[in-house]
Structures are given as structure tokens and as C-alpha cells.
């Protein structure tokens, strides 16, 4: 069976920013693909480059951004980097749409909700005022907003946080995009509202057959909602796998550390957490070796001089970028060696308490 070409292909994508402190390499060589109707979850801590990655895919970067040659983004077989400004503008909305962490950043505070939804429909689909209004009403119902007619006449500040996020979802869905990018769509919301929104996204996705990139820093969110997961660290994708494989056979020490640092409701109270010591590197610097090395319990000499590349482990599309993957004999040896000296090759003191 010939495999269909993926909906999205990202190849060696790099996005740098020209800043007063120097060139900041926010995304530094990320590759992944996404099939039609599929969901990929992208996790990583603050500053790891998740938002810049998807903004690069959407082609909505600020003017100080530099995208070096060789960075490729194919959507439905088309190279999005060659789109003209006006083509790009049409592209958002009809092909890809995005929702953000804070709905207020994408909603206009002084325009009524109805106007904001119909605007995008009229712009992209050339619908008449009445047609657009009918469609807006339909969308409001679809995203579960009670009393939709009344709500269409209200301003964003008159809605709760959860309702506002529903409105941004309605706007994003207005033109049936093939790909929905959700950048921390529930991070600012309460856990019960988060549940409502994630359930809504899942059912809409099923109904409309959209693909989705779900960005979050919460491994819990992606565990239940994504078919595949990509873990980012300091501008790099360090591990990708289907969700079950990732959780059961995590290879990368950063993935493992991230997982172990989360408090779990399933654990007894006062269970000591395995904190990750230190903090991510400054991405203005020229980074040599593995970017996680200063915080990694397994780091060896090789890690400080050579940069590990993402490679396919040959196990169900599981890819990872570590010389001493968790679960391997080399990893056990590396840890034993570090524990014997009490210090890793990158200078991490294994006997000291974790300090940021």
C-alpha cells in the first residue's frame, strides 16, 4: 500500500531572531510530519521554541525573524515558504487556523463576537452578510455556546474565559481548515473548563476530520489527546514517538526527567518529586554538544563535545536524540560511572540537591 503524502512535512526548520544580545536560535533544526486527521502533541518547557515552531509553520513571524535556507514546510504538498503575502493570508483560515493560550490576544475587545466570526467568513469565503451570520450561529452551536443568538451580540469581556476560548475555536473553524494549531489552548483555564475544551476539540476533530498540532507543557494533556508526541528542548525536537511508545519506552533523559518531575494524583501525598536541576541554556550562545548535558544525570564526555542528532530507532517510528538512551545498557553504565565519581562529565553534581 503506497503511503499517502503527509498533510504537513516540516524539514530541518530553523528560525532565528536577530536580538540586541545576538542571534537567538529559537528553533534549530526541527523535522516532523503530520498525517491528515492526525493529532501530534508538542511538549516542552517555557522557551523551548514551541510557539516559534508553529508560528513558523503558519508563516506569521515577526520581522526580526530569520529563516535560514534549507528550512522546509510543505503543506498538502505545497511549499508554504514560497507563498506570496496575499496567498499566505488566504491560507490561514481556509487551510490552517490557530488558537492561542489567551483568547483575548486573538479577539478584538471592542468588537462584538458576532462581527468577529462573520468577518473571517466573509473575508475568506466571500459570503453575504446574512449567509455569514447563519454560519456564525451554526458555529456557536457547534462549539457549545449556550444562548448563541444573545452571545453573538456581546463583547469578549462579557464572556467567561472558557466561553471566549470557544469563540476563538468557532472563528478558527469558520472555513473548515485542514489543520488546527492549538498553542496551549487550555493553559489559562481551570481544570474542569480545560476538560470541556479538550473534549470539544476532540469531538470537532472527529466530526471534521481535521489534523491538529496540540502544544502544551502538560504531559497529562497530550497523553490522553494526541496520537503522537514530540518533545522539544532548547529549540530541538529531542524525541518523537506514538503516545503509548513514548510513555512506556521513553528514550531521552529529558523526557524521563520531565515525566518524573510532575506530581501525580495517583501517588501518595508527600512523595518526594524528582526535580530537574538547573535550567535550560541561553539560546543566544553557541551551544556545543548536547543541550541537555548540563542537567543530565547520564552525561558523558561525548555529550559535551558532540551534538546528538534525532535518529530513527527502528521501533515503530520512534525517533530520539541521545547517545545514552534511557533503558539501554550504555545508559546504565553511564549512570554508574557518574555515580561512582559523584559528578557528570558536564559538571552536574549528583550529590547536591537540585537548584534552579
Amino acid at each position: 500500500m503506497a503511503a499517502e503524502r503527509p498533510l504537513l512535512e516540516v524539514e530541518n526548520l530553523r528560525t532565528y531572531f536577530d536580538t540586541p544580545r545576538g542571534i537567538l536560535k529559537a528553533v534549530d533544526g526541527v523535522s516532523f510530519t503530520l498525517d491528515k486527521g492526525e493529532t501530534i502533541g508538542i511538549v516542552g518547557e517555557s522557551g523551548s521554541g514551541k510557539s516559534v515552531l508553529v508560528r513558523s509553520i503558519m508563516n506569521i513571524l515577526t520581522s526580526n525573524a530569520i529563516v535560514p535556507d534549507g528550512s522546509e514546510v510543505f503543506f498538502d504538498g505545497k511549499d508554504t515558504r514560497n507563498l506570496s503575502r496575499s496567498e499566505a493570508k488566504h491560507f490561514w483560515g481556509t487551510q490552517m487556523a490557530m488558537i492561542f493560550q489567551d483568547p483575548m490576544t486573538s479577539l478584538n475587545p471592542v468588537k462584538k463576537v458576532g462581527i468577529q466570526i462573520t468577518e473571517s467568513i466573509r473575508y475568506h469565503l466571500g459570503a453575504s452578510k446574512q449567509e455569514a451570520m447563519d454560519r456564525a450561529l451554526e458555529l456557536m452551536v457547534q462549539v457549545g455556546i449556550p444562548e448563541p443568538r444573545k452571545r453573538l451580540k456581546e463583547y469578549p469581556h462579557q464572556l467567561s474565559g472558557g466561553m471566549r476560548q470557544r469563540v476563538t475555536i468557532a472563528i478558527a473553524l469558520a472555513c473548515n481548515p485542514k489543520l488546527l494549531i492549538a498553542d496551549e489552548p487550555t493553559t489559562a483555564l481551570d481544570v474542569t473548563v480545560q476538560k470541556q475544551i479538550l473534549d470539544l476539540l476532540a469531538s470537532l476533530q472527529e466530526e471534521l476530520g481535521m489534523a491538529m498540532i496540540l502544544i502544551t507543557h502538560d504531559l497529562g494533556v497530550v497523553a490522553g489527546r494526541a496520537r503522537r508526541i514530540g518533545v522539544m528542548y532548547a529549540g530541538k525536537m529531542v524525541e518523537t514517538a506514538d503516545t503509548t511508545t513514548l510513555f512506556h519506552h521513553m528514550n531521552h533523559p529529558y523526557t524521563e526527567a520531565l515525566f518524573k518531575s510532575i506530581p501525580r494524583v495517583e501517588h501518595q501525598s508527600h512523595t518526594r518529586l524528582d526535580a530537574i536541576s538547573g535550567r535550560p541554556p541561553d539560546m543566544v550562545l553557541d551551544l556545543v554538544g548536547c543541550r541537555f548535558a548540563p542537567r543530565c544525570r547520564y552525561a558523558q564526555e561525548q555529550c559535551t563535545t558532540e551534538e546528538p542528532e534525532l535518529f530513527d530507532t527502528g521501533q515503530f517510528g520512534h525517533r530520539q536524540a541521545c547517545f545514552y538512551p534511557v533503558g539501554s545498557p550504555e545508559n546504565a553504565e553511564a549512570l554508574a560511572a557518574n555515580q561512582a565519581t559523584g559528578i557528570t562529565a558536564a559538571g552536574l553534581d549528583l550529590t547536591a540537591a537540585a537548584v534552579s
Binding site: 518547557e45 517555557s46 449556550p146 467567561s160 474565559g161 472558557g162 466561553m163 481551570d190 481544570v191 474542569t192 473548563v193 480545560q194 476538560k195 470541556q196 479538550l198 473534549d199 507543557h217 502538560d218 504531559l219 497529562g220 494533556v221 497523553a223 490522553g224 489527546r225 503516545t243 503509548t244 510513555f247 526527567a257 520531565l258 515525566f259 518531575s261 510532575i262 506530581p263 501525580r264 494524583v265 495517583e266 501517588h267 501518595q268 501525598s269 508527600h270 512523595t271 518526594r272 518529586l273 524528582d274 526535580a275 530537574i276 536541576s277 535550567r279 540537591a353 537540585a354 537548584v355 534552579s356
Partner: protein
């Protein structure tokens, strides 16, 4: 009767006792925000009390009212035998040194123009007029305790630090006055997961080392469970349920606690996403529902729930719930409260 009951109170043993606490804010045109409506709880010395609930349920208001910032509309806050609501301004300021508060946003709660050593010493110089040798020693001691090297950080200013480091500075600033109680209002909500674990571990260590009593306010149930010895679940200005963390999480009796727990996304792909979802939206605290405040969203609601407010009652050993039709729970559960086998 408006009280939510006091069967869960432990009497004179407690270091802090909050009774019938009410906090109302004017909301224009004679409307009133019922932020906290008659809640009671107490805290034993050395205990960590977790206060959990969703945005707007009154957690911060409760924490601040304990500090008399501002004093509550009604109710009592007793701290070490002293009625805080009746203290003179001067006595209150003195008492507050022994009850400290740290906040959610570590960066904005630090004065950007001052050096770390001055920020931490602030309380000391106000209180003891001895910003000399003793103070320097004390500041260095607490900085060291929170994992910051005094030599390195003392002369720097807050903007040179990460969020996690700023929270360490805030904790040092609270510790320097040798408080008995620290009220932590969402101390890790603004931090990355990896840093969050560092701060949670640090708070546990500090509690041990300085014999602290903590109030830990958060909306993240997993975080609250991790640090608490006893948990109070709040909804719209009321207490729903009180129990030891392991009991509460294993056997939630209140329908709200139950759906709250079911909403947590588990970092485990084999754990199916719950098919339960809370109905509708949070009612306005200006016009809260009659009877049980959760009734507009409760799966188990009956006529009685709108007519009569449920009082807290004990449904199992040291497990209290304010609901007319609670979930059944085992009568006596082992592993109540804190686990001593750390």
C-alpha cells in the same frame, strides 16, 4: 442557617482557627460579591493545610483575610490564642511577622530596584532596627537555606533571576522573620513543571527545618495532594469537603470534588480520558444559588438542594462533606491524613 458547619474543627489543639469567615466586596449599585461566605477550618502546628478549588472560589481572599489584608467582613481568625480581627494596628503588624504570605507571581512581587540582600532583609530592618551584623548573618542563612549562594546573589537585582529563583528569594524573605505560619498563595502556578518540583521540594524541606505550619493554596489538585496533610475543597465561597489527601483523592464524597478529580488529565496513555464533564458555567458570586451553591451543575441534585444548605458532616473517620447526597465512601479508611512513613 447559613453556616457550613464546624464538626471538622479540632478545638484548642489548633494553632490557627478560622471560624465563620465572611468576605464581601461592594460591586456597585448595592450589589455585593459574596467572595467567601462563612467558612471554617483550623490548622494544627506543623501541618500543611491545602486549600484547593477553581478560579474565583475565594482561596486568595481567604488567605488574605487570615492576614487581615483586608480584615474579613465577619468571622474570627485566632492565631496562637490571639484574635487577629481585634488587634490594634501596631499589634497586628507585630503578629503578622509570625504569619507570612508568599504569592503566585514571584517576579512582580519583588521590587526590581532593590538588591536581593535588601529585599530579604526588609522585614528585619523594619522590625528589629538591627540591620547590622546579626541581620547580615540571618539573611545569608536563609538565602543558603533556599539554595541560593549568598556570595553570588546578594548584590544582584531580581531581573537577573529566573522565575524559580525569584520564588526562592520570596521564600527567603518570608523565612527571615522566623514565622510560625506561611500562607503560600499559588507559589508554583507560574513556574515550569521542572522548576515547580524544585520549589515544592524546597517548601517541604523548609517546613521540616524551621518547624513551619503552612497553608498551601492552589488550583492544581495533584500539587495540593503532594504537599498537604489535610485538604479543604472550596466552591464559590463555601467549603465542600475536608479530609486527608489520600482519603480525599481515593474516595471523594462531594460531587464537586469527584468531577474535579475526573477532570485531571493523567500523564498515562493507558488511563482512559474520563467521559464525565462538569455541566455549564460557574454562577456569579454576586447572586449565588440558594441552598447548595453547587446545585446548578450537580449530577445528583434534588429539590432539597435548592431549599436547604448542606452542613459539613463527618461521613467517615476524619472525612467531612457538605452535601445532602454524598457519594458513598468506606466508613473507616486506613492511611488517613499525613503519611508518617516518609
Amino acid at each position: 442557617m447559613a453556616g457550613t458547619g464546624k464538626v471538622h474543627m479540632r478545638g484548642d489543639e489548633a494553632l490557627v482557627t478560622v471560624e465563620d469567615l465572611v468576605m464581601e466586596f461592594p460591586a456597585g449599585r448595592r450589589a455585593v460579591v459574596h467572595a467567601v461566605s462563612g467558612i471554617s477550618f483550623d490548622i494544627l502546628e506543623g501541618e500543611t493545610l491545602g486549600l484547593v478549588g477553581e478560579s474565583g472560589c475565594g482561596k486568595s481572599t481567604t488567605g488574605r483575610a487570615m492576614m487581615q489584608l483586608p480584615p474579613p467582613t465577619a468571622g474570627s481568625v485566632r492565631f496562637d490564642g490571639v484574635e487577629m480581627t481585634e488587634l490594634s494596628k501596631e499589634d497586628l503588624r507585630r503578629t503578622r511577622t509570625r504569619m507570612q504570605m508568599i504569592f503566585q507571581d514571584p517576579i512582580s512581587s519583588l521590587n526590581p530596584r532593590r538588591k536581593v540582600k535588601d529585599i530579604v532583609a526588609e522585614g528585619l530592618s523594619i522590625w528589629h532596627n538591627d540591620a547590622g551584623e546579626m541581620a547580615v548573618q540571618k539573611v545569608n542563612e536563609v538565602l543558603d537555606a533556599v539554595g541560593l549562594d549568598p556570595e553570588v546573589v546578594s548584590d544582584r537585582r531580581p531581573h537577573q533571576f529566573s522565575g524559580g529563583q525569584c520564588q526562592r528569594i520570596c521564600i527567603a524573605r518570608a523565612l527571615v522573620l522566623d514565622p510560625k505560619v506561611i500562607i503560600c498563595d499559588e507559589p508554583v502556578s507560574a513556574l515550569d513543571v521542572s522548576v515547580q518540583a524544585q520549589i515544592l521540594n524546597l517548601l517541604e524541606e523548609m517546613k521540616e527545618r524551621y518547624g513551619l505550619t503552612l497553608v498551601f493554596i492552589a488550583h492544581d489538585l495533584a500539587v495540593v495532594k503532594n504537599v498537604s496533610d489535610r485538604v479543604v475543597v472550596m466552591y464559590l465561597g463555601k467549603v465542600c469537603e475536608v479530609a486527608g489527601p489520600d482519603t480525599l483523592y481515593a474516595h471523594p464524597a462531594h460531587p464537586y470534588t469527584d468531577v474535579l478529580l475526573a477532570s485531571i488529565p493523567e500523564p498515562d496513555p493507558d488511563h482512559p480520558v474520563s467521559d464525565r464533564q462538569i455541566e455549564g458555567e460557574l454562577p456569579s458570586p454576586i447572586n449565588p444559588p440558594s441552598g447548595c451553591r453547587f446545585r446548578t451543575r450537580c449530577e445528583k441534585v434534588q429539590d432539597l438542594c435548592s431549599e436547604e444548605e448542606p452542613e459539613l458532616r463527618e461521613i467517615a473517620t476524619d472525612h467531612y462533606v457538605a452535601c445532602h447526597f454524598p457519594n458513598e465512601v468506606p466508613v473507616s479508611v486506613n492511611g488517613n491524613g499525613s503519611s508518617d512513613d516518609s
